[in-house]
Amino acid sequence: MSVDNVSYYEEDENWISRTTNGWIAKVKEINKKYSQPRLKMTPLVKAMLLILRLYLIVLVAILVYKFYTVVSFR
């Protein structure tokens, strides 16, 4: 491998790591910005969010089961 090729490779690697780090930093910034939910957590809100979580867990379980049956059938 020539010296030029090595430097291009390193540049590419730097660009990828810079971009990845940039995105990670942005996500952290967003998480920090919204870390305190503005919604008042009344019992109704808590109950609704709990029901929503349970609903999604059941739905994901059904999707995983379907995926498993499709894969094992094949």
């Binding site: 967003i30 503005r38 919604l39 008042k40 929503l52 059904i62």
Partner: protein, 424 residues
């Protein structure tokens, strides 16, 4: 001259009212008409071919339900001046925020693919190869947003909304029996509630209220810059949109009901393009109108869906995200729009791509986002500190919760019926 002057004087209030409405009209009509996307037209065409006029009454009932949901988005957007994605992050924190954003991005991308499937199928009826359709549509969609003015974008899209009404003259050409249609408006289920009819009811609900609509409508209200004093107009705009969405749906059902329905079991069609192809043999003009309408529906859906994702990403990541900005002023917002558009178009062109599976998968993924987005909407609308005098009233909450419960239950059952067809 005097005649026109006196006419103007006589109707000056109406003219003033109309010009004000035309200035403020847009988001409500666009979101509702775009709701009749390629998947929607296919669902209505299949329902008409299978059950004739029997289920038109059910689709009419969905109009007020769609209005109730979208009206809440208008209120939230006008009062908070924030899009739906940003509002969820702000009110519910990063967990629900990321869940909604990632789910929306994934779902919108799959739906965008299904719009391209619809558009390519529609143009194939006229012998246009898919690759030409995808390239032309992508260029057209890029040109529409690149002018850097929300107003221009909105008026161009409203023209495409007008083209969506093509089903009305196409149906009228067939001289439908309006007495028979009127009789079918009394709610009843032909042969009772069978698993088959239940599947179609669920499909119609699933296509009338989609998650991207909440995000798109709220963001477009914000981008248009509507304020609290414009609220009555924005509501009226949504009423007009709900009327058109149901009108088009009903006419598609009448059209396929007249030409494809064969009693007692009806006809099974796979998509609207197939229906257009069949109709083309006996009624070339009507078949062409159905194909043009399908293409237009796919185009409208694609425009709104790709913008819904781009607005949502822009809101959360803090990019400049207005159609009022030029490409150089909002590069990441437009880049996301272009990339998602080109990627979805490319998927359609891949030989052997599982397009039918993707179209079915859209329905399943939608039910992971729709309940969450609707619940968040109702909870946000009940926050007095956020909404002030525009907070939901008791009556609005009762209506809202009932609609949300019905939509969540039926769309979940629909997704289950897609996953496990033997269940129903």
């Amino acid at each position: 001259m005097e005649f026109w002057a006196s006419l103007f004087y006589k109707y000056r209030r109406f003219v003033k009212w109309l010009s004000l409405y035309l200035a403020l009209a847009g988001p409500g009509i666009i979101v509702m008409v775009a709701d009749n996307d390629a998947g929607g037209i296919t669902t209505y065409a299949a329902t008409g071919a299978k059950f004739g006029y029997s289920l038109i009454w059910f689709v009419i009932l969905l109009g007020p339900a769609a209005f109730a949901v979208q009206e809440m988005c208008v209120r939230l957007g006008v009062v908070t001046k924030r899009g739906h994605a940003e509002a969820i992050f702000d009110a519910f924190g990063p967990f629900w925020g990321w869940f909604s954003l990632i789910d929306l991005g994934f779902l919108d991308f799959l739906t965008l693919i299904s719009e391209f499937v619809g558009m390519t199928a529609a143009m194939r009826v006229f012998g246009v190869p898919p690759v030409v359709t995808v390239i032309c549509v992508s260029i057209l969609m890029i040109l529409i947003v690149m002018n850097g003015r929300y107003w221009t974008w909105e008026k161009i899209v409203l023209l495409f909304c007008g083209l969506n009404l093509i089903y009305i003259p196409a149906t009228l050409l067939l001289h439908p029996d309006f007495n028979q249609i009127q009789r079918s408006l009394i709610p009843y289920f032909p042969n009772g509630i069978t698993p088959n009819i239940f599947f179609f009811l669920m499909a119609n609900i699933g296509t009338t209220i989609a998650p991207w609509m909440l995000f798109f409508h709220q963001s477009s209200v914000v981008d248009k810059g509507l304020t609290e004093k414009d609220m009555p107009w924005a509501r009226f705009d949504t009423v007009i949109g709900s009327f058109f969405v149901i009108l088009v749906a009903a006419f598609v059902m009448i059209l396929t009901g007249m030409l494809l329905y064969k009693p007692p079991d009806g006809t099974d069609i796979e998509n609207a393009a197939q229906a257009a192809q069949v109709i083309m043999g006996s009624h070339p003009l009507v078949g062409s109108a159905l194909a043009i309408g399908l293409f237009d529906a796919g185009l409208l859906g694609a425009i709104c869906i790709s913008l819904a994702s781009s607005w949502a990403m822009g809101e959360v990541f803090g990019w400049t995200h207005s159609i009022n900005n030029k490409v150089s002023e909002a590069p990441l917002f437009y880049a996301f729009y272009f990339v998602s558009l080109v990627a979805a178009g490319t998927v359609v062109l891949i030989p052997g791509a599982p397009l039918v599976l993707i179209t079915l998968f859209v329905q399943v993924i939608a039910v992971t986002l729709l309940p969450a987005a609707l619940v968040f909407l109702i909870l946000l609308l009940n926050q007095e500190e956020l909404m002030g005098k525009y907070k939901n009233t008791l009556a609005q909450n009762i209506i809202g919760f009932s609609i949300v419960a019905m939509i969540v239950a039926l769309s979940t059952l629909y997704a289950l019926s897609v996953l496990f067809p033997e269940m129903f």
